[in-house]
Symmetry: C2
Subunit: 677 residues, 2 copies
């Protein structure tokens, strides 16, 4: 029980005391004293509650200010902006402007390098427009829904869970709430995402949830499919959807991909592309949008051999794990553990899943996600689909809370089996046994000649019925025929009388060299936009000396360009050197941008800081006389003077992140920070 | 008149002669002789017609065989495959498999390098889901249609122009066709793409076009919109479409992009992304699909200053130009001309358009398009939109004919004006005059005090009417008031009597420093899939010595990987060197793939040839003793022995295409072609 709850109990006890004294007709002084005590306790509780509320308000206000400042930078510098702005925009649709586009391209390129190329994955590109049967097989047509409610008067649409969440939060903010009701609401709050229609309906009534703004009654909740519907072709007969994920394109191509891979397992296929979700009420900027870039991997593996050949390379990676036990335990906090230990202890289900969790961790850290605000949360039993063997989300903390940015799931054979069932095409791999095995099977052999003679055109149903008999039934029929000369058999065309000479049943031993099986799939699925937004939050800061100086601490891997080049003043000689420098860096694969605008270097530094450019090269008068330039690092604002021919090498090393600034520049002349900075 | 037409005329003449002789009751021998001559001429004509038909059939068959072989390679090696194949596929939707995905990524990356980075364009990424008003403003909701007809019995849908085209072709194949009817049909054939509803209806009737297969009557033609429709949000109230082109995303962001560019013109924005067209009857593989990648540039420029600062760099580029005059002239053939001459002669409208045509030519040639099968065709006057200043298509010849792969248009101010009109947001740039100019304007100044007193609450409409007067009307009113003391004025609330003291009119001279104007836009628009398909056709050949050996002559720029690495036999030492080689090349940015499968090197070469890999490194026993490997070039099959440390340098030079194979390998030991090749 926390301090507040205790005080609440004391107030309740004091109230009871006053009532008891009054009921007993006690001494007036005693009653007065009890009332005074009750008042004192109430005032004290009130003070605590106000302080709590203010602290909450202050925190909320700080977050809002932070987001406003970051948003000002990101939208102002066109990292991203609401789409179709001149037409009033559309919720949940965003454009990436030039620097955002460059950062996104870098994130995707690094993802391709880190996963696809490093592991020789098979990359594919499939269309977004998808015919209905594919998404019916995958379960999306039936189950990819959110619960919706309408304002019964205005008909406005709302997500039921959003409304319920807000009301429950509001109710929980009431300090006078009874303890058992509080527990009830807290339990509800924990599972709002997973309520079915009936549970949601009950919860909305229980909490007396009304439409926001109008306060009108709400309709019963009902499922709304989140896929954008469309029609393929002119007749309107072929129903389609925009894909809600890129994964299905890989599953339906499994057979061709397996063939391309020489029939060998394991292998992984990958796809980067747009996915679409027609969210009911998009909010939270890039975190919940209607069109977004996904990068998905489907790693196909033998269901009984989920070891990974490169697991040893990542086994020592320390992860922040928020396992099922940790979530259900007393402390409810993630713990650090190497992935090797987590797999060996069975916390993570298998090596391949563990391998991808570790590789995902390494990817996120290298693009600039703060490890202290990154955790891997295991899905609880009731969150997981029945077929899933294990499932973890990479969650990144930002001002909106802990955000699911990557899903890593062992989906067993579900997807391939689902598509195989619906398409009637086998999606299996073949395994050759180490040694051929002997298998005893029961063989039923209909005697076609006798059957044909006896049943004429009805011979086929009889034959089919014979072949469909179970082992036990076949022998029973044989025994009955042996005993009675003939016996009845149920066929498609009714019961028929079967004679002993119409078939034989025998046990046969066969040599089997291998078998077909449906592979398991391990699926790491990345939401590029969400990761980018969290990355921007982690990269954003304000220089302590100046409220106006905002900076994006983007790593060289993702920065939109690696360096800017400034001629100190507008001078032909300086401009020529700067242009030469620009060409030299670009040729060496270091993306650079020349900024020769006639404003102070300090202002140009500020501009480059906002774009997250890690380095700046300034050409000054000593460049002309000494053939040197200064190189500045964004975060430390450290500056060194470097001979021009050495600049590409220095920046190349720094951009590869193999060496830090202090070490890399140890041999160069340190420069004082420019006066105008 | 061609030889065939002449023979046809001779037959006609001989027929007339026979009829004439008969009418004259001429001598029987003379008639017999005339009949014999007619027969001879007919037989001769028949022979020619059959030869022509056979030649046509042979050509068609050769094309089909070529396409079948190429298709076998491209689909067999998963360059691309029909999407959702296990569900029977959907016409016009294709997946790129691993090598296709790599080639596509290389084409796009090179496009980005050649255009976006080289010219510091502003790259953006906008959503595919687009609200209706945007596409209404652009004209797509009303005009982005194809004419459709239905089989009146089965209701099957067809593209009217496709059916008409087939029927016209069939009719023209009839050798006995009258000359004037032939000319009529040829004229129709030339403009089938551009018929409006009424013209199409007439043409279908005139040619007696019926539904294919069934032979049923057709409905009247009607326009079918080619955009995929969808709905945004849960209420169904917000209508949307999948974008039919990426360009609109740039236009609607013009204001922000101009601001980002410091308010300066000219500048270009670019976007690579998916576009969607719900084709009525997709055919011709990757050439006409329902979802495809576009790469578009919008270069914004002052309408009176379409010079380009870098034009001199491309002025000497020789293009194959199929200008309006060439198309309408006698010869109907493109001609070679430098872009410099074409612009100076006014054949290409301006330098900026010429610059992009030349850059487009260079791009296509570098990715492997055969210059002899590339031409730039100017749109004829009636093909061009009324607003377009000039328009050229890069057309590439393949087995389907000349295919429009890139459109290059000077669209003047149309797009920005259209969006400005509909969105009510100014999409303009500001130009500062070199010298401020003096402008004389007429100023009407209502006397508010007097008006207020006279008209009370009606003063506003009167004031508005005064301010809305033209210069001439204002002076006329002033004169009338001066003459008569007052004069009538038409206002929103009817006629009012205006007195002389209620307003003044005078000419004022003002200094104007600049003005707002709507920029022109020059739009190069690339269809990546079409270009790739033509590139594959140009790259495909069969080795003369073996029907089975098919090769893709892909340039190193676009090849899916640059080199394969083969250990000659499966041996630990060789495998180790091969692995080391692989790492060495990859580190040097040369994408490589190790192929250690236990099949002959010849077979492995054949496999790598089909994937279009330009080089192959073979590790053999001399690699162990001498530290050398052999390097093989795909098309010449030439092989040289190279010291291992020199391999990355050699391949690097070859992949940059700065030096040819013969020159690059001059210093190395030539190897005989392997026996098993």
């Amino acid at each position: 029980m926390d301090a507040l709850e205790q005080k609440q109990e004391e107030v309740n006890a004091a109230g009871a005391q006053v009532r008891a004294l009054k009921a007993q007709n006690a001494d007036a002084d005693a009653i007065a004293a009890a009332i005074a005590e009750l008042k004192r306790l109430k005032v004290d509780l009130e003070k605590d509650l106000n302080a709590l509320k203010e602290a909450g308000n202050a925190e909320a206000k700080a977050k809002e200010e932070f987001r406003a400042k970051l948003g000002q930078l990101l939208e102002g510098r066109l990292f991203y902006i609401p789409s179709f702005k001149i037409y009033g925009g559309v919720a949940g649709l965003y454009d990436y402007g030039p620097p955002g586009c460059a950062v996104k391209s870098n994130v995707q390129q690094f993802w391709r390098q880190h996963f696809v190329l490093e592991e020789s994955m098979l990359e594919v590109e499939c269309p977004a427009v998808t015919p209905e049967p594919v998404l019916r097989a995958s379960g999306h047509v039936e189950k990819f829904t959110d619960l919706m409610v309408n304002d019964v008067v205005t008909k406005d649409c709302f997500r039921a869970d959003h409304l319920l969440e807000e009301v429950v939060e509001e109710l929980l903010r009431d300090p006078m709430l009874k303890a058992d009701r509080r527990r009830e609401l807290e339990d509800l709050q924990a599972c709002i995402d997973e309520l079915n229609v009936e549970q949601m309906s009950a919860a909305l009534k229980d909490t007396n949830t009304k439409a926001p703004v109008t306060g009108n009654d709400l309709s019963e909740p009902y499922p709304f499919n989140l896929m954008f519907p469309t029609q393929i072709g002119p007749s309107g007969a072929v129903k389609g959807f925009l894909r809600p994920e890129t994964a299905q394109g890989i599953f339906v191509n499994f057979r061709d991909l397996l063939y391309y891979n020489g029939g060998k397992l394991p292998f992984a296929a990958a796809q980067i592309g747009q996915s679409f979700r027609n969210e009911i009420a998009p909010r939270a900027g890039l975190l919940r949008v209607r069109e977004f870039t996904q990068a998905e991997i489907e790693h196909f593996v033998h269901p009984e051999h989920k070891e990974h050949p490169r697991f040893a390379e990542v086994a020592d990676t320390v992860l922040s794990l928020f396992s099922q036990d940790a979530q259900l335990g007393e402390v409810k906090k993630p713990f650090p553990m190497t992935v090797g230990e987590a797999v060996s202890k069975g916390i993570i289900a298998n090596e391949t899943l563990g391998y991808f969790i570790a590789r995902c961790h390494l990817f996120l850290v290298q693009i600039g996600i703060d490890t202290n605000r990154l955790r891997f949360r295991q899905h609880l039993k009731h969150e997981m689909a029945h077929y899933a063997a294990d499932c973890w989300d990479a969650e990144i903390q930002c001002s909106y809370g802990w955000i699911e940015c990557v899903g890593l799931a062992d989906r067993s054979a579900f997807d391939l089996k689902a598509h195989s069932d619906k398409s009637k095409v086998d999606l299996v791999a073949y395994e050759r046994f180490d040694k051929p095995i002997e298998e005893t099977v029961v063989e039923i052999t209909p005697n076609k000649k006798v059957l044909g003679k006896a049943f004429k055109k009805d011979a086929k149903p009889v034959t089919d019925a014979l072949l469909a008999l179970s082992e036990a039934d076949a022998f029973a029929l044989q025994d009955a025929c042996a005993a009675n000369g003939s016996a009845p058999l149920q066929t498609e065309n009714g019961e028929q009388q079967i004679a002993a000479d119409m078939f034989t049943v025998e046990k046969v031993t066969k040599t089997v060299n291998g078998r077909n099986y449906t592979p398991s799939v391990i699926e790491p699925s990345f939401g590029i936009g969400r990761i980018m937004y969290c990355m921007f939050e982690h990269a954003f800061y304000i220089r302590p000396d100046d409220e106006q100086k905002t900076v994006l601490r983007l790593t060289p891997v993702v920065a939109p360009i690696k360096t800017t080049i400034f001629p100190l003043v507008n001078d032909d000689k300086l401009n020529a050197i700067a242009a030469e420098m620009n060409k030299m860096l670009t040729t060496n694969g270091i993306s650079a941008k020349l900024d020769a605008t006639a404003i102070s270097v300090g202002k140009r530094y500020a501009r480059t800081d906002e774009l997250g450019v890690p380095f700046a090269v300034t050409v000054d008068h000593r460049s002309v006389t000494e053939n040197t330039v200064t190189v500045r690092e964004r975060d430390s604002c450290g500056q060194v003077r470097v001979p021009i021919p050495e600049v590409p090498g220095l920046l190349g090393r720094l951009c590869k992140m193999t060496v830090d600034w202090e070490t890399a520049t140890a041999g160069f002349e340190k420069q004082a920070t420019a006066a105008d900075e």
